[in-house]
């Protein structure tokens, strides 16, 4: 089976590091930081996004999931690695080339209040990308804008209105219409429902799923809401302090999580059913996500992991295929022994190179 033919976007060792300085002679004299401080927001991510799928990216705040989404579109500059799309490496594309690619790659933002220009009418907002790329094909821009509004469930007569005249859910629809205006292939949706009311979240998720079917879109759906991700995603990637720590089919990851962090994350989701809540046992994690500035050595999760052994503080685990198409980065599990045996003190495997064998590009 040739998986590469299905792959739309491939990330290879993608890095976004922010250098906060420190560690120089001047810093020492002036009382600055004695060590060089680097935030590794995205730290060597390898990921294939398949054509037509929704890849859910989950993680707690500060884990780098938004930075990863932005780095793919070069809204944040990657400091290393590659983003392959259509045979080209976007990470090293010129700004002109990148601009051209934005016709195919779009983004929906979290905050529908902040991501729309309050001084432009909705018609102008949606028409802007059409005019920029001259996509009206000589036709009427206004008509195209109206069609787009109807597609996302807005009244087509509202083009002259301003963003403040719409509710949060409607504004998110405007953001979606703007992203669709250029007829993209791939959309990064960064927490598209987090700012919305519960009854509106379902509307936006359904709209995005319908548009995906109709227009054969591929989504990277970033969210901290595990219930939403479970619903919309075909596959899920779990991120922790700049690294992907688990990746697999959404249903499998939720039903049989491998990595201790994923288990804790799923167990922390409150279930809207008192009968289940009363019976379920919760794995409560100690402490907060550590600071991404110089994170814990070895496996970044070792400070909060109940299974951590000495080796976990030393060895940086690689993302390894533990079960078919189900990857995890944890040295205490291996394909032979996918469950952590608490009595088994030794690490078991998963000490490899960065790229999982099956996902290597030919």
């Amino acid at each position: 089976m040739n998986e590469n033919g299905n792959t739309l976007i491939s990330l290879r060792n993608l890095q976004v590091h922010y250098d906060l300085g420190g560690g120089t002679l001047v810093d020492r004299i002036t009382g600055g930081s004695r060590v060089r401080r680097v935030v590794k927001a995205v730290d060597g991510v390898n990921l294939d996004i398949k054509r037509g799928e929704t890849l859910g990216l989950v993680g707690e705040s500060g884990c780098g999931k938004s930075t990863l989404g932005k780095a793919i579109l070069r809204l944040t500059e990657p400091t290393g690695g590659q983003v392959f799309y259509g045979g080209k490496d976007l990470a090293h594309a010129s700004s002109g080339e990148m601009r051209e690619q934005r016709k195919n790659l779009q983004m929906i933002f979290q905050d529908p209040y902040a991501s729309l220009n309050p001084r432009m009418t909705v018609g102008q907002i949606i028409a802007e990308p059409i005019r920029t790329f001259n996509l009206s094909n000589g036709g009427n821009v206004e008509a195209k804008v109206q069609d787009l509004m109807e597609t996302v469930g807005l009244n087509r007569r509202f083009t002259k209105r301003y963003p403040h005249e719409f509710s949060g859910g409607q504004r998110q629809r405007i953001g979606i219409a703007r992203a669709l205006a250029v007829d993209p292939e791939f959309i990064v949706a960064d927490e598209p429902i987090s700012a919305l009311d519960v009854s509106i979240q379902a509307q936006i998720m359904n709209l995005m799923e319908r548009l995906q079917r109709e227009k054969n879109l591929t989504y990277l759906f970033i969210s901290h809401d595990l219930r939403a991700i479970r619903h919309v995603a075909d596959r899920v990637a779990v991120m922790y302090l700049g690294k992907i720590v688990e990746l697999g089919d959404a249903k499998t990851v939720y039903a049989e999580p491998l990595m201790p962090y994923t288990k804790a994350l799923i167990s922390a989701v409150p279930i809207p059913d008192p009968e289940i809540e009363a019976k379920r046992e919760r794995i409560t994690l100690k402490g907060d996500v550590p600071s991404p500035i110089n994170p814990p050595s070895g496996c970044h999760f070792n400070t909060r992991c109940r299974y951590a052994i000495e080796d976990c503080r030393r060895i940086d685990p690689a993302l390894v295929e533990i079960k078919p198409k189900h990857y995890a980065a944890c040295i205490r599990i291996s394909p032979e022994r996918p469950h952590i045996d608490e009595n088994d003190a030794a690490g078991l495997g998963a000490i490899g190179e960065g790229i999982p064998e099956t996902e290597k590009r030919s």
Partner: protein, 352 residues
């Protein structure tokens, strides 16, 4: 003193209105409930439903003008809170009724050390000396699980993470051993793993100190595991009121049913389409005639668009604001019997 029947708080037909350029906004328009000692009440609603205004009204924190409590009683432990002078309110607020707000970043003073902010509470309410207050502050931080409390007490808020700041807020709220704790979206700004820690902490402290709690949230998952009874609000009105298990098992209001169905729950997933409540959240300044939910309600009939619905009593503790409450309830009972959630189903829940 007013007779309390063992209730720490009785709210009777509370109405809080705001004067705006758009006319009168009836932010809370008739809410009635009692809270027994040690009990937890959940108030659930979307933005603009009036859940936070209810809380602010109980604490007498409604800015006047433009707001005003126009009618109703708020009886806290036999005291009529509405009749109190502002000084008397202050002696209760923070001491006997404490609050935790959604945003731990903005509810701590960034210029003052944690110690100063924690000590202020007990110096004011319990007459502690500086030394006593400092000892108490350290003890409270230990209670809420802040490691190395003796040193961390001297930190500034920015040196704490979001979860830690929320712990500090809880420590502050519980400093005077309050009888009632009002938590307004206490975990909304936090990550799930931290949310689980904070909810566990509130549960634990409640069990140890016997505090009554009002938990205000938009998340049905949070109230499911935390509360004894629930009030569902919409457009300033109480739409449904019931013991927690009953509300989830057999809701008697179409809005509650819709809310429950629209949360993606892997256990009840059929097909791909998620149930959605149609339409937009209500504009509280311009409510439609009849039932405020009628424009979005799939069950609505002519009468719903014309007449305001009655508050129907289903059984002793279960009420629903709907023209068809009894029918909706009967339907839920039927669905429940058909689904017959068995023990094995609970155990095989994908997230359990």
């Amino acid at each position: 003193m007013i007779e309390t029947n063992g209730h720490i708080l009785t709210v009777n037909d509370l109405r809080t209105y705001f004067q705006t350029e758009d006319g009168v906004v009836k932010a809370v328009d008739g809410i009635t409930f009692t809270l027994a000692k040690g009990e937890t009440l959940g108030i659930v609603g979307e933005s603009g439903s009036g859940k936070s205004v209810t809380n602010l009204s109980i604490m007498r924190l409604i800015p006047e003008p433009p707001g005003k409590i126009v009618s109703g009683d708020i009886i806290f432990d036999g005291i009529d809170v509405r009749k109190l002078s502002i000084d008397d309110v202050r002696s209760i607020r923070g001491k006997r009724i404490a609050m935790i707000f959604q945003d731990p970043m903005t509810s701590l003073n960034p210029f003052l050390k944690i110690s100063t902010q924690l000590m202020e509470v007990t110096e004011l309410h319990l007459g502690h000396t500086k030394a006593q207050a400092h000892r108490h502050a350290v003890k409270m931080l230990e209670t809420v699980g802040i490691p190395d409390a003796a040193n961390r007490v001297n930190s500034y808020p920015h040196e704490f993470s979001g979860g830690m700041r929320q712990r500090v807020m809880i420590a502050m709220a519980l400093s005077c051993d309050p009888e009632l704790l009002i938590a307004d979206e206490p975990t909304t700004a936090l990550d799930v793993t931290i949310q689980a820690q904070i909810l566990e902490l509130i549960k634990d402290l409640k069990a140890r100190m016997g505090t009554s709690v009002i938990l205000i949230t938009h998340d049905l998952g949070v109230v499911a595991g935390m509360t004894d009874k629930i009030i569902v609000m919409y457009a300033g009105k109480v739409f449904e009121q019931a013991p927690t298990r009953e509300l989830f098992a057999t809701p008697a209001n179409p809005y509650t049913k819709g809310l429950l169905k629209s949360v993606p729950d892997p256990a009840h997933e059929e097909g791909t389409e998620l149930y959605q409540i149609p339409g937009l959240p209500p504009d509280v300044a311009h409510l439609p005639p009849g039932c405020p939910f009628s424009p979005r309600c799939e069950r609505a009939e002519d009468v719903c668009h014309r007449e305001f619905p009655p508050f129907v009593q289903i059984n002793e503790n279960h009420w629903s604001l709907c023209h068809f409450a009894k029918e909706v309830y009967a339907e839920s009972v039927r669905e429940r019997a058909a689904a017959n959630l068995s023990e094995t189903q609970i155990e095989s829940h994908p997230l359990a």
